[in-house]
């Protein structure tokens, strides 16, 4: 029976004399690939709607399946297969071959043939297919033809440049922007041979996904400011890798030449990011090449009090001695940049060497409730064992977002949600204060929620007839929800009552791996709860140690508090933006700075930072290009990647921690990422009882509303002041311009025109920014948390703070 169903879905046709069966609705151009015939094409792209514009893929159809043939060659990129169809491609049909050669000749009529100076030369579909399916000689040039010319190039954004005369007008870029990204900021203008890609007057192509158009351009018409004239493809060495700037786990390709990364491209992983990545994934790779890159271990000189270059053994010894002196009064903040292998080393280092559970990867608003939520609901989830996947996003009936703005915080999720909504109307709801353009692009609906009241808003969804969440639904919660007491408990409860499945989406590439490897005060590697004696014994046995510290450790807030009061004597820190640490809890950073100066601080960093300046020992850490490793993405999917560059100046965290541990006389047993992975597999996941789901009851109140005060809604946008985006000014120039976003009612009280500067004041201070009107919940004002130069989280306050907005001159 099953076999019959499968059979009836297949269509059998003959291509170049070879019978092939393909699913119904397959296009002839892709069916031909099944028999090994590549039909040349330009406008065709498997992830874009067929358009049939370039006419390069013409084939002869002597029988359309109904006994009659097409009198004219047909575009195989728009023609679906039919039972009994007969197709003759260029391989067997002189008509098809001539038609294709004719089109290719036409395409070259107005193409400059400047391949020797074109970035695409060597990897150019036009160049390649002109060789394979074109005429050897140009009759146009022979007959004295005059080509169309344009001034070149023009900027269509700060990052993307357009050489119009190279363009073959396939419309891949405009279709991508409209269909996939939902940012139709480029469009074809004019007509005939003067047709050209253009932008709206005074509206640059500021899309978070603009770089994808460069990659799918089949000629060298679109180039990036970052890569233009930098390299030739045949000089590059390509290594598949995984994007390290968010938790999406997007497949990328890293191209390097003579020890330098020249560019990053999207990889093709249908299960994850398909063929698309964000501009941050693509262009933000210069950070490790900045002047402040650490290249030698350093120790603080006992005589001068200054950091000085040290040998690796000396640095290991100094670090080990300092940690020994601190005994168990050590905290560890490994940050969110770690590979799973490095995170495992940190986790084991804390337990085996420092003998503490004072470890926490979260350097952002967090709570014990979140730690419990992660331990009970998130850890050990993975595709295949019931966790939500990208494919689930695509097939879900309903998706509820809470504390998550996918376009800013998880680009691949955003594109999948948009695809789902476009393809079959997936209903998307956002528990948020702001109806963003990103939400509109996914066809989503705002459930207006004042920051701080998310818990009750989430609880209310259980009986919301319009949202109608059920087992066909998904709930995606962002890490920001940890800042709202009760919200994660409410989300877990909502999933339990409605049957909807729940997923947690962190921001940083290393977050999920750090969770899985136990970089939390309440969790050990493999999801073992610290509080469970059985889990501790199990792990101690696997590690061959006498025991695991049995008290739950301090979380980040606790570690910093104890440092301030002298309860901790040492800190091991890495991958943490000091500005974020110093801003946590809104405490005066002077006190903490003083405490850090007094404490023994070991910093594991790629580049120097405020932490390395305060540290007693500094270790240069390899960036993700300089080591092999694994990220675990939000789905729980394992995303392993290889080493791109050999650079002996820095080492992976695991090697550094192993060195310290060995000096301390307490080995962590692994020295390399490969060894760490092997041990992680051996230790395996915890199969015992999970920790209980948190049931924190929301206080549900907010301080806003009184005396014209507003509650601040705020998050980090995709392109911001993050240090890993340093080095590409063109990329940063495409960041969204910071505004203070208010709704019409609030705006009306300000008495200034839209676009004028207003003063946003909060607990930390005030900034002046232009005001804009948007869909914002009553009593709320939104501003970007981390815009370059105007970091609201440091200058005004955290999300949920009570703020004021005032118009008029300051």
């Amino acid at each position: 029976m099953t076999q019959e169903i499968v059979k009836s879905d297949l269509v059998t046709l003959t291509i170049d004399g070879i019978q092939v069966s393909v699913p119904a609705d397959t296009l002839v151009i892709r069916a031909a690939e099944q028999v090994g015939v590549q039909i040349p094409r330009f406008c065709d792209h498997p992830l874009l709607e067929p358009v049939g514009a370039c006419r390069q893929c013409l084939v002869d159809i002597p029988d359309a399946g109904n006994g009659r043939g097409f009198p004219k060659p047909q575009a195989s990129c728009t023609l679906p297969v039919a039972e009994g169809m007969v197709v003759h491609t260029q391989a067997t049909s002189p008509v098809a071959e001539k038609a294709q050669q004719g089109i290719m000749e036409f395409l070259l009529v107005n193409h400059p043939l400047d391949c020797p100076v074109c970035d695409k030369g060597g990897e150019c579909p036009l160049q390649n297919q002109a060789m394979s399916n074109g005429r050897g000689e140009s009759r146009f040039a022979e007959s004295g033809g005059v080509k169309r010319v344009y001034p070149k190039p023009i900027n269509i954004s700060a990052q993307v440049l357009l050489d119009r005369e190279r363009c073959v007008l396939c419309a891949r870029c405009t279709r991508f922007s409209e269909q996939i990204a939902g940012d139709p900021f480029i469009e074809l203008l004019e007509r005939g041979a003067l047709q050209q890609v253009g932008i709206y007057e005074r509206q640059p192509f500021d899309s978070y996904f603009s770089g994808n158009t460069i990659q799918i351009c089949p000629v060298g018409a679109l180039t990036s400011a970052a890569y233009r004239f930098r390299s030739r493809p045949f000089d590059l060495v390509s290594t598949p890798s995984i994007a390290d700037l968010d938790a999406c786990g997007s497949a990328i390709r890293i191209d390097h030449r003579r020890g330098k990364v020249m560019r990053r491209l999207a990889g093709n992983d249908p299960e994850v990011n398909e063929e698309w990545i964000t501009d941050k994934d693509r262009f933000a790779f210069l950070a490790p090449r900045q002047d402040d890159r650490l290249t030698h271990p350093q120790v603080r000189d006992e005589d001068t009090g200054e950091l000085r270059v040290a040998s690796w053994p000396e640095a290991f010894a100094v670090a080990a001695r300092g940690l020994k002196d601190a005994k168990k009064k050590v905290g560890l903040l490994p940050g969110g940049r770690l590979t799973a292998e490095d995170a495992y080393a940190w986790s084991k280092f804390a337990r085996v060497v420092c003998r503490t559970n004072n470890i926490d990867f979260r350097v952002r608003p967090h709570s014990a409730e979140e730690a419990a939520f992660l331990a009970s609901t998130v850890v050990l989830g993975a595709p295949g064992v019931g966790a939500v996947t990208y494919a689930d996003l695509e097939s879900a009936r309903t998706v509820v977002l809470a504390g998550l703005e996918p376009e800013d915080e998880a680009g691949a999720i955003f594109l999948r949600l948009r695809k789902a909504n476009q393809a079959h109307g997936t209903r998307i709801f956002s528990v948020s204060a702001v109806g963003t353009r990103g939400l509109a692009k996914t066809g989503g609906q705002l459930l207006p929620t004042v920051p701080g009241t998310e818990a009750s808003a989430i609880s209310a969804l259980a009986s919301d007839g319009e949202v109608a969440l059920d087992a066909g639904g998904l709930i995606l919660v962002g890490e920001r929800l940890a800042g709202v007491p009760g919200a994660l408990s409410a989300a877990a409860a909502l999933a339990a009552t409605t049957g909807a499945r729940l997923a947690w989406v962190p921001r940083r590439a290393g977050d999920r791996g750090a969770l899985e490897t136990g970089c939390l005060p309440n969790l050990l590697p493999g999801g073992r709860p610290v509080a469970d004696p059985g889990a501790r014994v199990d792990l101690a046995a696997a590690w061959g140690v006498a025991g695991i510290p049995d008290n739950e450790g301090l979380d980040t807030d606790g570690i910093l508090a104890e440092l301030r009061t002298g309860g901790l004597d040492a800190l091991v820190v890495g991958g943490v933006d000091p500005a974020d640490v110093l801003a946590l809890g809104g405490q005066s950073d002077k006190l903490l700075r003083k405490a850090l100066k007094k404490a023994f601080v070991v910093a594991l960093e790629v580049r120097s930072s405020a932490f390395t300046e305060l540290a007693d020992v500094v270790f240069p850490i390899a960036p993700s290009t300089d080591k092999a490793g694994t990220y675990v993405n939000w789905e729980g999917r394992v995303r392993s990647f290889g080493k791109v560059l050999d650079n002996p100046a820095s080492l992976p965290d695991v090697r550094v921690l192993a060195g310290i541990a060995e000096e301390r006389g307490r080995s962590i047993g692994v020295r390399t990422p490969e060894q760490a992975w092997a041990e992680m597999v051996q230790v395996g996941p915890w199969e015992g009882p999970r920790a209980a789901t948190p049931t924190v009851v929301s206080t549900g109140s907010t301080d806003g509303g009184a005396n014209g005060a507003l509650v601040l809604s705020s998050w980090k946008q995709l392109l911001d002041d993050g240090r890993m985006q340093d080095g590409d000014d063109h990329l940063r120039a495409t960041a969204r311009r910071p505004v203070v976003l208010v709704n019409q009612a609030t705006f009306d009280t300000l008495g200034v025109p839209e676009g004028d500067d207003v003063t946003l004041a909060g607990p930390l201070g005030s900034v002046r920014l232009p005001v804009a009107i948007g869909e914002v919940a009553d009593g709320v004002v939104w501003a970007p948390a981390s815009a370059p130069g105007v970091s609201i989280r440091h200058l005004v306050g955290p999300a949920g703070a009570v703020v004021t907005v005032e118009g008029g001159a300051q």
């Binding site: 013409l58 004719g102 089109i103 036409f106």
Partner: protein
């Protein structure tokens, strides 16, 4: 001689203020509408089918059959959507000049046809997409539509029938491509005029993704007479497979150019006689016919040998061309065929929408090759190059407009290869370009 004419659409063009509603109604106008509203919509479709009316926009697709493709079963997805009638009044083909004078002279014929046709296909909104350059015509049709609203021919519950219809007069932005029906729909929806991928066909998913009939002005304007006089009356005219009458627009080197309404199947010889013969030359001598287009510049040219070809869809097809829009451009012996073809090709280059490669790049190249030939700079091989370029455009382009661009070139080389070669021998054009102009007719050499 004039008894071969069958003035129906053009009958009242000479009446003073023929565009006014009262003048139109005095001549029996809107009588067919009253009759139609008493009929079942399907019966109107049947009548139009029985009449044998074929699309007057050039392709000649049976109008009634086109209407019957509109899904009417409200339980299906397409049938449940609103239906639209769109009148293609974007008359832009070089030589074609019938819809614009019709809308100028008797716009109510069109409006009445729109109402009956919309009623037949159960559309409650109809659009008349008029070429943007003809502002005076747009105003006249707008005025006629306003008059029709005031008289109760349009709007809610038309004459108590319970049938509602709104008509929107839409001005195009000036692009030949928008005469292509799917490009017209794009333009009507506010997008750039470029043809759409088919399927889906407009009958299923046309304007706003809803079932849509797109008809030429003359087709729709013929409907009131078919309903008023009966299908048999209409099909009694014309030839076996090309029924009825049509407007034949004669332009160029005839003494009395203009619109001649006659049954399909009339010959050019008869039409030239009606138009007072080929013009007299500058020296007073009677000029002879050299070549002509049967249906606008996109139809392959014909010559003197084809004077007796019956001008119906089949007859012209057998002669190797197409009836098209019956736009008969007459060229006498003073005309350089290479020059004429180059001007047409420049038109196609200017009007290519740019969507597909062969039309966009092909016309760019064709004009350059033709220019060299006209200047006597090419070689005999360039003729083969031209034919090969045309072979690579014809049937390879996205829409039929690319095909049309090759017609004048291939047909002119077929009939006048020697004249092309003469340019090469002569080192340029052997003709006096002044001699072919209209000014050369009367007293040019005086």
């Amino acid at each position: 001689m004039t008894d071969v004419l069958t003035p129906v659409l053009t009958a009242d063009w000479g009446t003073p203020e023929s565009w006014k509603l009262n003048v139109y109604e005095a001549a029996g106008g809107y009588g067919a509408l009253k009759k139609a509203l008493g009929m079942a919509p399907d019966d109107i479709i049947t009548a139009v089918k029985d009449s044998g009316l074929r699309g007057r926009g050039g392709a000649g697709f049976p109008t009634g059959m086109k209407w019957s493709f509109i899904p009417q079963d409200a339980s299906t997805e397409a049938g449940g959507k609103p239906k639209y009638l769109v009148v293609n009044a974007d008359e832009s083909e070089p030589g074609t000049c019938k819809d614009i004078p019709l809308m100028m002279a008797t716009p109510h014929t069109l409006v009445e046809g729109v109402i009956i046709s919309s009623y037949a296909i159960r559309a409650n909104t109809a659009f008349i997409y008029i070429r943007g350059e003809v502002l005076h015509v747009i105003r006249r049709v707008q005025a006629a539509v306003s008059e029709a609203y005031l008289a109760g021919h349009l709007g809610k519950n038309i004459h108590g029938s319970g049938y509602d219809l709104d008509v929107v007069v839409h001005a195009g932005a000036g692009a030949y491509i928008c005469g292509e029906e799917t490009a017209l729909l794009e333009g009507l929806e506010g997008r750039r005029g470029q043809p759409r991928l088919r399927p889906p066909f407009p009958a299923v998913a046309g304007l706003y993704a809803s079932p849509t009939v797109i008809n030429n002005v003359e087709s729709i304007a013929s409907v009131p007479s078919i309903i008023g006089n009966g299908a048999a009356w209409f099909s009694s005219m014309g030839t076996e497979k090309s029924k009825g009458f049509g407007i034949f627009s004669l332009s160029g080197h005839v003494n009395v150019p203009g619109q001649y309404e006659a049954p399909l199947g009339i010959t050019l010889r008869q039409l030239i006689d009606l138009a007072g013969g080929i013009r007299t030359g500058a020296g007073g001598q009677q000029m002879g016919l050299k070549f002509w287009t049967p249906g606008g510049s996109s139809t392959p040219i014909l010559t003197q040998a084809h004077l007796d070809v019956p001008l119906d869809f089949e007859g012209v097809g057998e002669a190797g061309s197409m009836l098209g829009t019956r736009a008969l451009q007459i060229f006498d012996e003073t005309t350089c065929v290479v020059r004429a073809v180059l001007r047409w090709t420049e038109f196609y280059k200017h009007e290519s929408c740019g969507k597909c490669t062969p039309c966009r790049e092909g016309t760019w190249w064709l004009t350059q090759t033709l220019t060299r030939l006209e200047n006597g700079e090419g070689s005999a091989e360039d003729l083969d190059l031209l034919l090969d370029q045309c072979d690579n455009i014809l049937g390879r382009s996205f829409c039929a407009l690319g095909d049309g661009a090759t017609s004048p070139i291939t047909s002119s080389i077929q009939y006048f290869r020697d004249e092309y070669l003469a340019h090469l021998e002569h080192g340029g054009c052997p003709f006096d370009p002044m001699a072919s102009t209209a000014f050369a007719t009367v007293g040019a050499n005086q």
